[in-house]
């Protein structure tokens, strides 16, 4: 009786453990790469963006490998984001090669900018909308360009873009998303979950470049809004919203320094990004795992987590309130960046596509790659490479 009972109990436990393993606790698969692989992957992404630049200053927006087609669509915010990522690569790596391409894309943004009073903002040439996000990312890109080159020719342009951002800020630190040319004022009814963080980052960069000009006051106001109110105002079901732009902004503020409330917010963001990477690393096409955990996240999402983690790592590296999460942040960065390396289309794999030139260096999801897949993966990878290399040294 004793042995039979014991055997039955242990068998039940074993079955339970196997079920748990097969469903809720599959293995974390974190490829083991170092800074060289991260950088090589980032370079392949840069090459994709450079090849995708067209004669009109726009990038290839999207490519569907299943139909070998290019949907007729474009997005000015993403244009600014992709351009920013090229400047970011240059600023982080010291390789200024991509600046030539980025400057062509920048010129297009300047050409379509809308002037009003003492500010300038990017206007969508098709629907005439003036949106906060594109100008914020253009300004962030210009700040990174200045870091990379030391060239001050766009300083006044940056200030004019910056003044538009201030025009869109509300007294509580939040931002409105559209400025309406027909009313000559911001649309008071529309906010954006993306644009607030983008504007925050741009303002924080501006203060670090031009410390005496007062850009820190609106930056701190939006940092507090993000830390205390945004998730509730925007009604996010599972706060905090994984906002890598907010993480970028907090990282820029690391020497100001940030307040306790902002440090708490930074920690909660780190927890969210870390969890997302852990879950992503458990995704596979194994039986039951894909059904329960879903398929791989597209690079435009996955890359933002690595961006967020790298920003928070830089913050934690100098802020002792976050010292306890430094090591975990490093682990998640390496894991997230490693998965990106693994999922990128290599030159060999690209040869199997109808158009290898638009496949190589890209990340596909359901046979589709969009320019911001390359943008966010590039940003995350180059920052992961710099952090990993610095640690090695």
């Amino acid at each position: 009786m004793v042995l039979r009972g014991l055997a039955l109990t242990l068998a039940t436990w074993a079955i339970g453990a196997l079920l748990l393993r097969a469903t809720l606790v599959p293995a974390h698969q974190c490829p083991d790469y170092g800074p060289d692989a991260f950088e090589a992957s980032a370079q392949a992404s840069v090459a994709w963006i450079e090849r995708s630049l067209q004669s009109d200053g726009r990038y290839v927006y999207e490519y569907n490998a299943a139909t070998d087609s290019y949907p007729d669509d474009y997005n000015e915010v993403r244009h600014a984001g992709v351009t920013m990522s090229l400047y970011q690569y240059a600023a982080e790596s010291g390789d200024t090669g991509p600046i030539e391409t980025a400057d062509i894309a920048l010129q297009r943004m300047i050409d379509i900018s809308f002037e009003h009073g003492d500010w300038l903002a990017i206007q969508n040439p098709e629907n005439r909308t003036v949106k906060l996000g594109s100008t914020s990312l253009a300004l962030a890109g210009l700040a990174l360009r200045r870091h990379a080159t030391g060239d001050d020719q766009y300083d006044e342009l940056m200030r004019r873009y910056g003044r538009f951002i201030l025009e869109m800020q509300r007294p509580d630190g939040s931002f409105l998303n559209y400025w309406l040319p027909n009313t000559g004022a911001p649309d008071p009814t529309v906010t954006s979950k993306y644009a607030t963080g983008e504007a925050f980052w741009a303002l924080a960069l501006m203060h670090n470049l031009f410390p005496g000009e007062g850009w820190d006051v609106p930056a701190i106001a939006v940092a507090d809004y993000l830390a205390l109110h945004r998730d509730e105002v925007e009604q996010f079901e599972f706060p905090p919203w994984a906002d890598q732009w907010a993480a970028y902004g907090l990282s820029e503020m690391r020497t100001w320094p940030i307040s306790d409330v902002q440090a708490d917010y930074a920690r909660s963001l780190a927890e969210r990004f870390g969890f997302l990477i852990r879950v992503e690393s458990q995704r596979s096409d194994a039986l039951l795992v894909e059904e329960i955990h879903g398929g791989p996240t597209r690079a435009a999402g996955h890359g933002t987590w690595v961006e967020g983690l790298t920003s928070l790592y830089r913050l934690a590296a100098v802020d002792d309130r976050l010292a306890d999460i430094r090591s975990d942040l490093r682990d998640r960065i390496d894991c997230g960046a490693g998965m990106l390396v693994d999922r990128q289309v290599t030159s060999d794999a690209a040869a199997t596509y109808d158009d290898p030139s638009v496949a190589e260096g890209a990340w596909f999801s359901n046979n589709v790659t969009r320019m911001d897949d390359q943008q966010h993966a590039l940003s995350g990878l180059i920052r992961a490479a710099v952090i990993a290399r610095k640690e090695l040294e």
Binding site: M1, T9, G16, L24, H28, S268, F275, R278, I325
Partner: protein, 184 residues
Amino acid sequence: MTDPWQLFLVMLVAANPATGLRAVLPGSLRERVPAAAVAAGLAITIVVVAGLVADSLLEGLAIEEETARIAAGLVLGISGGQAVVLGGPLVRDTPRGWQAGLYPLGIPLVLNAAILAAVIAFSANPDAGTGRSIGFAAISVTLTALAALVPARFAGPADGVARLVGAAAILVATAMVVSGVRDV
């Protein structure tokens, strides 16, 4: 969930000593002591081994410590739910002598799946500490084994206690899952 009192609470509700009160062992107290001793010895041995190999085990299975905590929370939640519904196992018709200390007293009563999962998950957590996790788990299983020595007339009242501890286990399990999700 790595403060000492929190960790002890986890181990205590996972072991749920009130279930020991529900074990009706045959014979006099003198006859029941060997069974309880074997059960405690077996449970403590497994807890110690599990705690010591936790790091290697999770590494071998490619499971992050935070994920192990979530899994342990799920196991504890199921165990707590079972205690709430059934009031903890009422063990009867057990063999006389020390053999009962192997089954059913040792496994699964004193050493249940929830305490085993908890000791693995927390021993791998550097903030909780291997020694502390093993220590609290060992104390908790010992309490369960000692409870089995209490006369059978207390088995009835113990039912309510086991259910209450089961309810507490569900709350603790929820906190474990949340903390696992919220960790970096």
